[in-house]
Assembly symmetry: C2
Homo-oligomer: 214 residues x 2
Amino acid sequence: MRLAELSRRSGVSTATIKYYLREGLLAPGRQINTTTAEYDEGHLRRLRLVRAMIQVGQIPVATVREVLGHVDDDSLGRTIRLGAALWTLPQLPEPDEDDEYVRAAHREVAALLNRLGWENAKQLTTISPSYRSLVVAVAAFRRLGYDWGAEQLAPYAELMHRTAALDLDSLETYPSDAERVEFALLGAILHEPALRALHRLAQEEESARRYGYE
Amino acid sequence: MRLAELSRRSGVSTATIKYYLREGLLAPGRQINTTTAEYDEGHLRRLRLVRAMIQVGQIPVATVREVLGHVDDDSLGRTIRLGAALWTLPQLPEPDEDDEYVRAAHREVAALLNRLGWENAKQLTTISPSYRSLVVAVAAFRRLGYDWGAEQLAPYAELMHRTAALDLDSLETYPSDAERVEFALLGAILHEPALRALHRLAQEEESARRYGYE
């Protein structure tokens, strides 16, 4: 298809598509003469992914480029490729290891993983940004004087584990590795805002059921 | 306590505290002479909250000021006061109501709320930013060609409802209204990154259990 059709089918303006091409977020089309290039379904799918990352995920262009670099790196296995892409996404600030609340949070999160029997997650504590983000959030709660630790986190972790199992079930319905990596990435970008919105909506529902609109 | 002690106990530098005072994020201390002011436990708690919103929540200063204005508005009932504070937090971009995917997403979310029997949430669809964020995320998935609707969302919504019930259970352990509003706000700011981190960690655990590190 030509640029105009790519724009129509994606809902992205031709000016924005040209900008993505210049920024290397979209591979060039097949040049059929000096002024015209031809694009395929792969371009369309990539364009929609880039659009979702930038518009809904509000991810900076440089980060999108880096994430896509990992997605396209065929030299890596699927789990590692996906991990590299996900771990490039924006995260919470790094924990300050000299802070007493951060040290206490490390102990509580370690106790949590033990309690849950998450043996794989236990091996990732030095490299996983998810683990470090959890430590930062727990430390911030404790610094505010709230008693937040393994015991309080465990029921939430069980619910999140069930949520993650649903995610992987959906992932398995996609036939190709390329689609799975793309869907998992979208999971992190679109799914998290959706879960957060569902969570807030559920809070509103439950609060109104318990207390009405006092 | 004096400024130096407030700084020591909160872990926030005196320069930053002065900045928060100038920006109106923290009420002035009780002036005991021309150069010295006295701060109390209320200042300490508010300072920690402001710090968490800015550092962990990465919320802009102007937004923090607006959120705190709602928290402190005694003229409102508890549920409304909390709602106003939460709804001031940054949200996804507004849905474009002329977009066909947005219209389809509205239908799917309406079907979801019916299916779940969330009667209160159904009444909030025109005013709740959570509802609109959910519509935006669902529309983005559908635009990418994924079949995401009431059926796919329902098991996630059930898990999020159980998560919200845990939230309100913890809320009820705090004695005063002021603490409950503050804790609920922290719930939105610190709890969501914690849940997201738990969710990603659970994905890593479950992925490694199912596929190893291929």
